[in-house]
């Protein structure tokens, strides 16, 4: 008889339920909000990569002085900080990269909030975007639930409402609400994998933690290029280098498209999340710099781009916000400098790194 039984009292069920829910939130907080579980996430998962980068950049901050510049973007903002930093004597700046492949402005906001809680750890935050103007694409980026899987470890109780309401689709909102309230639902697959092989996971996490700085900052992109890619924008056809099926698929799906109807959703998303990010640095010594990244080996001609609004340009008028020359990296938009339809290759990354260092240095002087 391990439990004493007592006479039930009125309200017992209600109090039991209330305390039961409190217990659930406490367990969730102890495991998923304390950093306990986020420190052992699978390094190759969305949240795991995000957390690794955040940890790596936090750890690196003490190595630098007041000249630190952090860049944020998705996989298209591929450059070599080590190459950019070869010019530190000339530029006076040290570059670090906190971008995460597949992410957007919403994710970058949460990254910066935890990377720079005092709003002054960086001389500048450089954000790479594909365009200063807003063009709606095939899907609504505002309802992209991938964000939840990147930032789940960073969401606080106070984020639940704003994060949830930042989605417009009711189903996405529900998932965002559920995920931000109960993080175990987001980390479920990761947790099950961990429970299957806990020792292997812990060893892998330790291994990756030990080498991540070196691997990522010493990384070399492929030298492969897409020479031979020719797009006929009049006929919407393309010629491809032989044997590159992946490029063929990518171009067909993401590049050779007719303009989509302009709904203004992308502009609204950018206004909200870049706006929130700029508000975060409002009044701080940190400059926020937008750069337009090389768009591709053969960018879409102007007549196929629908530019209704210009959110980033409008932000340029804010104090503490600078827009780099949008044509600054156009010279890199050639098939020999790209490894696929969107990403620079080794040579492209090297050149972008040097050009970026000079461009940012010029803007911050």
């Amino acid at each position: 008889m391990w439990l004493p039984c007592m006479q039930p009292r009125r309200g017992r069920a209600l109090w039991g339920l209330v305390f039961g829910l409190a217990g659930l939130f406490s367990l969730d907080a102890a495991i998923f909000r304390s950093g306990l579980y986020t420190s052992i996430l699978e390094p190759e998962s969305s949240a795991g990569t995000f957390e690794l980068i955040l940890r790596r950049e936090r750890n690196a901050q003490p190595w630098y002085g007041k000249n630190l510049v952090v860049t944020l973007g998705d996989s298209r903002f591929a450059y070599y900080p080590r190459v950019a930093n070869e010019h530190t004597a000339e530029t006076g700046l040290a570059f670090r990269q906190a971008g995460v492949a597949g992410t957007d402005a919403r994710t970058w906001y949460y990254m910066l909030r935890d990377l720079d809680p005092t709003h002054d750890r960086y001389k500048a935050v450089v954000i790479g975007v594909d365009d200063y103007d807003d063009e709606d694409g095939a899907y609504d980026i505002g309802d992209d639930l991938a964000t939840l899987h990147y930032v789940a470890g960073r969401l606080r109780w106070t984020d639940v409402a704003p994060f949830t309401l930042s989605f417009s689709d009711p189903a996405a909102r529900f998932q965002a609400l559920r995920g931000s309230l109960f993080k175990g639902t987001v980390f479920q697959r990761d947790l099950l994998a961990f429970l299957s092989h806990p020792q292997k996971r812990l060893a892998n996490v330790e291994f990756v933690n030990g080498g991540y700085e070196e691997w990522t900052y010493g990384y070399h992109e492929t030298t492969q290029n897409v020479v031979g890619l020719k797009i006929d924008w009049e006929r919407f056809t393309a010629e491809f280098p032989p044997g590159n099926d992946q490029l063929r698929d990518e171009v067909a799906r993401f590049i050779l498209y007719r303009p989509y109807p302009q709904t203004g959703r992308r502009a609204a998303f950018r206004r909200k999340w870049f706006g929130q990010l700029l508000d975060y640095y409002s009044g701080s010594p940190t400059m926020v710099v937008f750069v337009r990244l090389p768009r591709g080996p053969q960018p879409r001609p102007e007549n196929l781009v629908r530019k209704v609004t210009h959110t980033i340009r409008d932000f340029g008028a804010r104090p503490g916000v600078v827009l780099a020359n949008e044509h600054a990296f156009e010279s890199l938009e050639h098939p020999e400098l790209f490894r696929d339809g969107f990403h620079l290759n080794d040579e492209g990354c090297t050149r972008l790194s040097e050009m970026l260092a000079r461009e940012i240095s010029g803007l911050l002087k």
């Binding site: 391990w2 439990l3 004493p4 039984c5 007592m6 039930p8 009292r9 009125r10 309200g11 017992r12 069920a13 109090w15 039991g16 339920l17 209330v18 305390f19 039961g20 829910l21 409190a22 217990g23 659930l24 406490s26 367990l27 969730d28 529900f174 998932q175 559920r178 109960f182 175990g184 639902t185 980390f187 479920q188 947790l191 099950l192 994998a193 429970l195 299957s196 092989h197």
Partner: protein
């Protein structure tokens, strides 16, 4: 509207709020309306069938009470049973019989088939309805005068689609002498709902993914380890799925002041097949015992008659689940096991003493149950043979279960033993608030971390 959906949660909360907000005299009308609405959300057309069967059995009950004992009384009973079995037979067994008849006549098996959709829960509510009529016929139950009361007995939403099969006397005792649930009953009701949800979403659905993956393409998963994974996963899926549903049904009924019978008592801890059937789907087993096995003569006519009665009861029990040779074989297999066990044991009662022999006996019973589940789950006889072949002579292959599945199964085993020996769940449901809340929190956390959330896997027994 599945029990494990937000839509149902909202429905339940609204029903509870209205139920306790309305005057007592109106509450049963609310429950009736809510139950019909619940049923209509699946398929509004079958409401007509439900109403027809309700009307027939309601009238039969009244008629039976007025007709003196004799042939006319029997005729009324036969009319009612024929109506119930007729509808059940048409919707559930017509295509099976027509297919086999066509094959027997050497014609294509689809020659006489009709496009029939099985009404949800028909096997449950017809059995419940038939038991009422038989009880009235036997004089064990007074005929219900109020049609609303009777309609509510048939369609009460917590148990309408998958039981437990409630006896009329139990239901009307609660309805006619309704008492608000005590604090302990409300606590237990909430506890059972959360427990049921956890069983369904965190356990059953996780194992369902493995079982469905295997049985969805057994040929693509060769080898004994894959077959054993598939059937082991299904064994756990069906238990957690059905007992989880039942827990929720019992819990909801408690919140509304009704008391449903227990339907499962940790069947995989049974130390014999006889014991298994005393622990598995108890409301159906006891229905079959009271309305089929005992009327057939039970064990009163000697060994051979007992074996015959066991076989007939289990064959019909198998057919109750569905119209296919697989279910018939599954029922027959259970009947053979029960007969063999009785042959070995004789008239001695089954032993449920926890001694050294208990674990191996329980393991053997579980393994025998596993073999039976192959017929229950496989799509047809061909797949059953294929799976059994793989289980016993499949050679090497990949295990479809991850280590965490075994962790989950191990946790379930420990909790089952804890409940069996020390009534852990019972005690937690009655414990002081801190312990009760801790148990709820643990189950909710289990739901958070293990529940399959974005794939609505239907309850298995909804198809019966």
């Amino acid at each position: 509207m599945l029990f494990n959906t937000t839509q149902f949660l909202v429905f339940l909360v609204v029903v509870l709020a209205l139920f306790y907000g309305l005057p007592k005299s109106l509450r049963k009308y609310l429950l009736l309306a809510a139950s019909y609405y619940f049923y209509a959300t699946w398929n509004v057309k079958f409401l007509a069938l439900l109403l027809t069967l309700t009307a027939i059995d309601y009238a039969s009950g009244l008629w039976l009470e007025r007709v003196p004992a004799g042939r006319r009384r029997k005729a009324v009973l036969i009319f009612s049973l024929a109506a119930n079995l007729g509808f059940l037979g048409f919707f559930k067994y017509y295509n099976f019989l027509a297919g086999n008849l066509a094959l027997g006549l050497g014609r294509p098996s689809n020659s006489f088939l009709l496009d029939i959709v099985l009404p949800l829960g028909i096997s449950f509510h017809t059995f419940q309805s038939m038991s009422y009529v038989v009880d009235v016929y036997r004089g064990q139950q007074r005929a219900v005068r109020n049609p609303v009361d009777y309609a509510l007995f048939i369609c009460f939403f917590p148990q309408l689609v998958a039981g437990p099969i409630v006896r009329a006397r139990d239901f009307f005792r609660d309805l006619w002498a309704w008492q608000p649930p005590t604090s302990a009953e409300v606590s237990r009701g909430i506890f059972l709902i959360v427990l049921g949800l956890t069983k369904k979403m965190a356990f059953a659905d996780q194992f369902a993914k493995v079982a469905n993956g295997y049985f969805g393409g057994a040929a693509a998963h060769p080898g004994a380890p894959a077959a054993l994974s598939g059937i082991f996963a299904f064994a756990l899926q069906i238990y957690f799925d059905f007992s989880g549903y039942t827990d929720m049904a019992i819990g909801m009924a408690k919140l509304l002041g009704f008391h449903f019978p227990i339907n499962f008592r940790r069947p995989y801890l049974a130390a014999s097949i006889t014991d298994f059937w005393r622990r598995w789907h108890i409301s159906l087993s006891s229905w079959l015992r009271d309305y089929l096995y005992i009327p057939l003569g039970g064990s009163r006519g000697g060994n051979l008659a007992t074996y015959r009665n066991l076989m007939l009861t289990m064959l019909l029990g198998g057919l109750w689940h569905g119209a296919s040779w697989n279910f018939l074989i599954w029922g027959g297999y259970q009947g053979v096991l029960l007969s063999i066990e009785r042959l070995i044991r004789g008239d001695r009662p089954t032993s449920d003493v926890w001694d050294w022999s208990y674990p191996p006996r329980a393991l053997l019973t579980f393994c025998l149950a596993l073999i039976g589940w192959v017929f229950f789950r496989a799509a047809d006889l061909h797949q059953s043979r294929q799976v059994l072949g793989q289980m016993f002579a499949g050679g090497q292959g990949a295990l479809l279960l991850e280590p965490w599945h075994f962790g989950l199964a191990g946790l379930a085993l420990i909790l089952s033993i804890g409940e069996e020996r020390w009534e852990w769940f019972e005690r937690a449901a009655r414990a002081p608030v801190p312990v009760y809340a801790a148990a709820l929190a643990a189950m909710l956390f289990c739901l958070e971390t293990f529940a399959v959330l974005d794939a609505a896997i239907p309850f298995i027994y909804f198809q019966f």
